[in-house]
Symmetry: C2
Subunit: 496 residues, 2 copies
């Protein structure tokens, strides 16, 4: 009973609906049959290079149809993919390769500088560019016809609050249940087509690939996000669902102007942190069907999503835990929070990671009785809807008052002259910490004006003590603000 | 890892979408919130009567919204429902109650004759009519907030080769995966509404109730099938999907005449045995979207279904195993059959029963390495599509009900005057098939007497329509009845 065997997802899908479109990339459409043929051929080439079932192997790739084929070849072979974030430095990447005991790295010429650098500290690792892989000989691969849902499919590293990255183990079952939870909430039709303009190396992108295979649904892959391209693809490829983070949605909303998205488009799945209320309101006004979600690498993508019928009445909420999953808020004494009382968000369900690679202690600490401590702060309103306030590490405590940076950032970007904002805490003798902001502006503006604007919208203790105008707010590939980089900036500014 | 905990399905659904319509019955619509309130109240009344978590308890009910509420109350309490077929005789029902050690029977006044009769042979069983149950005091129930997917939810009896019925154990996980497999094939939209005109005590009906809860979808319950009522409901209640067996579909097709079903209707899910090709062609002509399926109590409803894109090109096929499941054909030497070669159908997947209640030996014989031997005969064409040739060589399917000859033969030879018996199916315009018996007698006896004897022991649909007295029942060396010889005899008799 422990084992839950299921046919290899790609094999199954290629057998069920071989002729349906599966992947669209760079003006080319691949059916599920095509995708299987590609992945099978690559599996044979990986076999000739020595990759074997059960191994961990690194993958460092850009957003491209080839990357999807390579990921799926790994699944055919039962090789566990350590999926690397291509924006990291060679130093960070090498660390993850070593931590996961990966002996192979599949990458591409685009990242030659990084891989050359990595090579120096990874003498035992075979590094292969996809360009060479695709010219390698083919050896009939041993395909995993049936796999166990408890088997590890992918590993993705997250930093989290502690600083050192940890490899999050995602099983086939985690991915399957994530896809099921999403379908039970959003529904599923033969017309569905999901636009992937987020990185495939993130769970946000990889989960779209898994849904494509499990649902038998077309996915459109963009090499990188561009608002105009995205709008064109939604129109021309009949995209019905798109995954976005706030900054992407802002750019789409602005690019649209007076335009509307076409009728067939039914869901803008918004993740990657709490969204500014102003943006949600603008989207509502333009009839952009935004579904707020909450999720993380450890939950194999969204775990909390706002049901369609509440998108307006509960604007700003991330919704309720998807059908297979559960959610609760715990206050400092370990008890369940009361409605509207903020505390730590805990989640449970079959989409939750089985743990961190080689980190049993950390796993046991973070996952107790199936409940994952997310470290994030939020509350449930009296109807049980989740409102995410912020990540715990970002929490600014000033004179005993909790300050959530996202709230201040939301206010700043609601000003027509401010395009982006990031807020951090600064040590302060009197208050412990005070909030400090960094902004990018569209039009020249004085600091005093911005502070005055905040004073109108926020309690005085939340108003930034200092606002720096910079060229760009540092964000990671998932568009999350890199607050530690802001902290470095702050230190530099202070020393001057 | 063995346990897979999930929130109680009804609790979860009532929390996610309380205001969506859930059940429509007799001009009344109940939301999921209403359904929860009803089930919760009944759970409290069942508690006051003494039902407790983990028990098996019988349920003998008609198609009615109340029955759905009672089934769901059982789920809230974690009581395993032994779901009884209300067409069976008191004798057959009492046997199933004893076999499952059920100490409670929830029934209704409609079945008073049967339950009074059952009472005689079940001195320790508390029999409660729903009419009394609904007037019972309420005691705050202990609701199972989280349940294990491996836990048994329902037991449904099927006969089989041995003659004696066996209780098929269906877990919460079995029902969940069955619903998932169906959604991944048929899709799922907010507009979906499933018409249940098949019995709720069958897996065909009960599985619609489970889908309603898991999907958050409205189901329409009909007390009994009537073609005109069904067509009206499809129109007025905006039904999109309906489960049917051939006889029901024939009556709908005939009733329609030159009419068409409305545009919103998208799927006629056809189960209960191979369909006549003529009927499928007539439906194609009238644009009735028929999806042939194959499934059984042991697979918790459909396990093989024809995908929409093949409904015409593979007319007559039951399709391929649903996404979570697998299928193979085995020939007599135990090897996989070649394409187009007929053999026994084996199925595997998370929707397959964990076994037969208290029948470990039979379970071990029927389920090997996760593969269930169905006893049914079929072949896969060169594209891998299943064509079911015959349900278990001897199985008789009459109006969607399975009739096992061995069971009728057992009843016949239990009469002191009858020495041997053989039963086969005869083609019938109305029912598809009806049972016909051949007997050898010890003492002169009239056909009417034998039929009267059967009526006392067997559900009416199982009683042979004709009983022939012959000199010897043809048997092979292993004493197995040669049913094909009986068929020849029948043809001879018919020609006279």
């Amino acid at each position: 009973m422990n084992d839950q065997m299921m046919q290899n997802f790609l094999l199954k899908r290629a057998s069920l609906t071989p002729d349906r479109p599966a992947i669209y990339f760079a003006d080319q459409t691949y059916t599920f049959s095509d995708v299987f043929d590609k992945a099978f051929h690559i599996a044979g080439q990986l076999t000739s290079l020595g990759l074997k079932r059960g191994q961990f192997a690194g993958v460092l790739l850009a957003n491209h149809a080839d990357s999807a084929f390579i990921y799926l070849a790994f699944q055919l072979l039962g090789v566990k993919a350590v999926i690397l974030n291509n924006r990291l430095t060679a130093h960070e990447l090498a660390w993850q390769m070593e931590d996961s005991d990966s002996l192979f790295l599949i990458t591409e010429e685009l990242f030659t500088l990084k891989s050359k650098e990595m090579e120096k500290s990874l003498p035992n690792v075979t590094i292969i560019n996809k360009e060479d892989l695709f010219n390698s000989p083919f050896v009939e691969p041993i395909v995993v016809n049936e796999m166990n849902l408890n088997e590890v499919c992918t590993v993705m590293y997250t930093s989290g609050t502690t600083g050192f990255p940890k490899g999050v183990l995602q099983t086939y079952g985690n991915h399957m249940w994530s896809a099921i939870g999403s379908a039970l909430n959003l529904g599923l039709t033969e017309q569905d087509c999901w636009l992937c303009a987020v990185p495939l190396f993130h769970i946000s992108g990889y989960s779209i690939l898994m849904r494509s295979i499990i649902y038998g649904m077309k996915m459109v892959i963009l090499d990188s996000f561009h608002e105009k391209k995205a709008i064109d693809l939604i129109e021309n490829e009949k995209v019905t669902i798109m995954s976005v983070v706030s900054t992407m949605l802002t750019r789409i909303e602005e690019e649209l102007g007076d335009q509307r998205l076409p009728e067939h488009f039914r869901c803008m799945l918004l993740g990657g942190g709490p969204a500014p209320r102003g943006l949600l309101e603008k989207c509502m006004f333009k009839l952009i069907p935004v579904y707020q979600t909450y999720g993380m690498t450890e939950t194999s993508s969204q775990i909390v999503t706002l049901s369609p019928e509440y998108s307006i009445s509960k604007l700003g909420s991330a919704g309720k835990a998807l059908f297979p999953s559960q959610l609760k808020i715990i206050v400092s004494n370990g008890k369940d929070a009361k409605p509207n009382e903020a505390g730590e968000i805990l989640v449970k369900g079959p989409n939750i990671t089985i743990g961190y690679l080689n980190r049993e202690e950390e796993t046991a600490k973070r996952i107790v009785d199936g409940w994952l401590s997310t470290g994030d702060i939020g509350y449930l309103d009296s109807d049980g809807f989740l409102f995410v306030l912020d990540r715990r590490s970002d929490l600014i405590i000033s004179g005993g008052e909790n300050i959530y940076p996202a709230e201040i950032e939301g206010v700043l970007v609601s000003h027509p002259n401010i395009s982006d904002a990031g807020v951090i805490g600064m040590k302060d003798e009197k208050w412990g910490e005070v909030p400090i902001a960094f902004v990018t502006i569209k039009k020249d503006m004085k600091e005093e004006e911005m502070i005055q604007y905040c004073l109108e919208k926020l309690a005085k203790y939340k108003v930034p003590k200092k606002i720096y105008i910079i060229d760009e707010i540092p964000r990671n590939a998932a568009k999350k603000i890199l607050r530690r980089n802001l902290r470095l900036l702050l230190n530099k500014n202070m020393k001057r």
